[in-house]
């Protein structure tokens, strides 16, 4: 299971957010370049369509493939009150013949995208020991199938900010609390909300970004 919140950020403020995250998380920045291929079963396979994401990480010299299945979000009155979305997720590393394998199973290409950006990991201990991954990515569409080099951004001026943290059925409320705590730190720059809920941009983000990036200032005298 994972808890997830998303937000959008204008492209001009991405550097400021990176500075903020570097200060919060300790500086281990990981580049993200993931070619995500989403496969879906056809109507001839079962009553319910099954969807699977094949992610090929291109940030390393050797592509690393992984498969990811995202379940439905947790529902209920309690889930609606949570500031984050809780959903079951299965992720595993796979070999690079997975695409053919999935085709052989009957999965068909639904859509694909390229995500580029960076991510940080923050280790929180309060209220629960959890590692939250903050990913700032730009989503690109691939006009030609699998043509990663010809990717075009879906929204040139907006980046997606996503916070995810692993959770289990008995501690997800604490994990959600940790995520919302981290989201408060990011509030000057980005509003975070559940994936399906639009949140808008922060109007004063430019001020906060300027404050983060500016070099001037007086030192404390006392």
């Amino acid at each position: 299971m994972e808890c997830v919140v998303q937000g959008i950020l204008e492209a001009k403020h991405v550097d400021a957010l990176e500075v903020l995250l570097q200060g919060l998380c300790g500086g281990l920045r990981e580049t993200i370049k993931v070619h995500e291929i989403c496969l879906k079963t056809g109507p001839n396979l079962g009553a319910v369509a099954s969807e699977v994401h094949l992610c090929c990480s291109l940030s390393q010299p050797e592509p690393v493939w992984s498969v990811r299945h995202v379940g439905g979000a947790m529902r209920g009155a309690g889930a609606e009150q949570l500031p984050a979305l809780v959903r079951p997720v299965l992720e595993a590393g796979i070999s690079n013949n997975s695409l053919r394998f999935m085709h052989a199973l009957g999965y068909k290409l639904d859509y694909e995208m390229l995500r580029t950006g960076f991510s940080f990991q923050m280790h929180k201990t309060v209220p629960i020991a959890v590692t939250i991954t903050i990913a700032v990515t730009a989503i690109h569409r691939l006009p030609k199938t699998h043509s990663v080099d010809e990717a075009q951004p879906v929204t040139p001026n907006l980046h997606m900010v996503q916070l995810t943290a692993p959770a289990s059925p008995d501690n997800y409320s604490d994990v959600v609390g940790a995520i919302s705590g981290l989201a408060e730190y990011l509030a000057p720059l980005v509003h975070l909300s559940k994936p399906g809920v639009p949140a808008g941009v922060v109007p004063t983000a430019s001020t906060a970004a300027a404050a983060l990036i500016s070099r001037g200032g007086i030192t404390k005298v006392l």
Partner: protein, 657 residues
Amino acid sequence: MAAPGGQVQAAVAVPPGQAAPRTDMAPVLQQLNLASLRTRTQDLHNAISRILHSFHTLPALKWSEVLGQFAMVNVELLNLVEDIKPILKMFVVYPKNVNAENATILPIMLSSKLLPEMEAEETILKDKMLAGIANLPVHMQSEKIQRQIELVRSVCDGAEKVLGEARKVYGLSSRQGPVALATLDKQQAARIGEQEKLLRAASNSGDGLRISPDQQQAPLMLPPHVSSALGTSATDPGASFQRGSSSALPPSGLLRPAAPQQQTNPAQILQRSNIGVSMQPLGGAGSLPGVAAAATTIPYVNSPRSVAGNFNVPSPQQINTPSQVQQAALLRQQKIQQLQKQQQQVLQAQQQNQQLRRPGTPPIPQAQATLQPQGHQVNILQLQQQQAKLQQQNQLQQLQQQQQLHQQQQQQQYQQAQQLQQQNLQQQQQSLHNQLQNTQLHAAQQNVLAQGSQGRNQLNQLGNMNPLYGNNQSSLLPPTMSGQSQTLLQQRYLQGNASHLYNMGNTTGNNMGNTMSNSMGNNMGNTMSNTMGNAMGNTMGNTLGNTMGNTLGNTMGNTIGNALGNNMGNPLVSNMGNSLGNNVTNAMGNSLGNNMGGTLGNPLVGNMGMAGSAAQGTSTLALPLQQQLAGPGNYSGLINANQLNAFAQQRQQPPPQ
């Protein structure tokens, strides 16, 4: 306000005025820390002046910093005032020039009296204000002053409005952070909202990313990761796919094109990859042009198949043929028989020759304990590596059993050794899979390692493992198990130099830098600890190789004294005994082990760490493992008068040459 006529003598304690303490009330004196007050006020004054200076000079100031510093200064000031308040009551304003007319208003005047500097400022200001109109009548003056006041007030109001707006813009109005007032105009906000929807939909559900089939274009060149993903060998999976007749996934889609991988026809790849999208049944095998079932295999990434050398390893769950099963059973029997022979020989040797060994002397020829076949040694070591912990625990339990039996005859020891082996076999079967593959060992190492009941245990395990590992392991056993005789092994051992002997001991404790021997040593130590050092002692007189394993298994019932006596002559053994024998010798009240191990014992003891720790439990064998390992050991129970006598007797025997 003008000062009253009289002079007032205000002994104000507020700095920067000089004040002197005028009271000697003892409890209040402690609060009279005027020096510190003065220092603090001076510092505060300096700080404020610094801040003001920075306001004037530095161009880029942030509200947050300014406010922070203001807060600091404010806090300091408040603290100062708080500290001064209790002191103020010690000071009195003593008006001097009091007469009838100002007596009533004096309090008011005193309370509103200004400091001299402030008075001076006020006079100056007043003069400036009234300079132009001093000559006019009073009402005119007051009118002008009123107009000025109005002017100033309007300016102040305007300034306040500007400040308020700026405060809102910069979010300083509330402490909770920025107030999300929409300073973006509506159009901009709407535009951003739409883009946000686009982005979220694309990221979460792929809206806007799907390409209709007719609009799909094949790229000229597939990216390498995709081409490797789609263009891999079709021989194996192709065959398996061709078995099932699936219309949705034509087998031809999996056939590799004849062209090299990077030049794979994108159209073909596209057709294959877009099988779901296009829903075009591609028919039989020959439908795609240019497709040929070439035979090149492209290694998969992250695939177990791509690891070379794994192809011949059958699954551990497989027992390939019944003949292999029979082979395994046969080998197992052979191993058991050999182990029994070895044990018998060791027992005989123990009875015949309980002599001390000198360091460096070659192993005694009489010691006829069968050495483990060389082929086993590698496996033995490997197996032992993995089984160290298991064995230790197991053996500790066994030690407890053995402790009860240590007074019994050697036949009982033999039986116990067999039990040990069987138990080890059962426990070690599954975890020794990988080790069996490594069959290359040093001859020296083999000599060294061919000792110990662990070795025999390994043999048994190997026999058991045979059916599991089929052909891979068969080569291990026949040459090693069946052919070699004890003498052969012994000769090999004898040919070893003294270093081997030391290594022998070292293997129990120390390695030649060989992990296998480490494991061997650990195992040895375990077994030794199992046997309470008896094996150690018994093996003293015998060649290490010969007797180690055997004695380990067999000497379970030996008295501690015997073990110790045997250990006397051989520093190695003594060291080995150290692992066990630290406790054993200590238990015996004999520092032999300690002394003997003085020189050699360190590495041994170090390596025999497990053994040592386990051996430390020899005195506490009856206790649980933790207690055994942790406790300093109560050795009193181990000491037996008979054992002491026996030990003394054995000690007197000269070592054989």
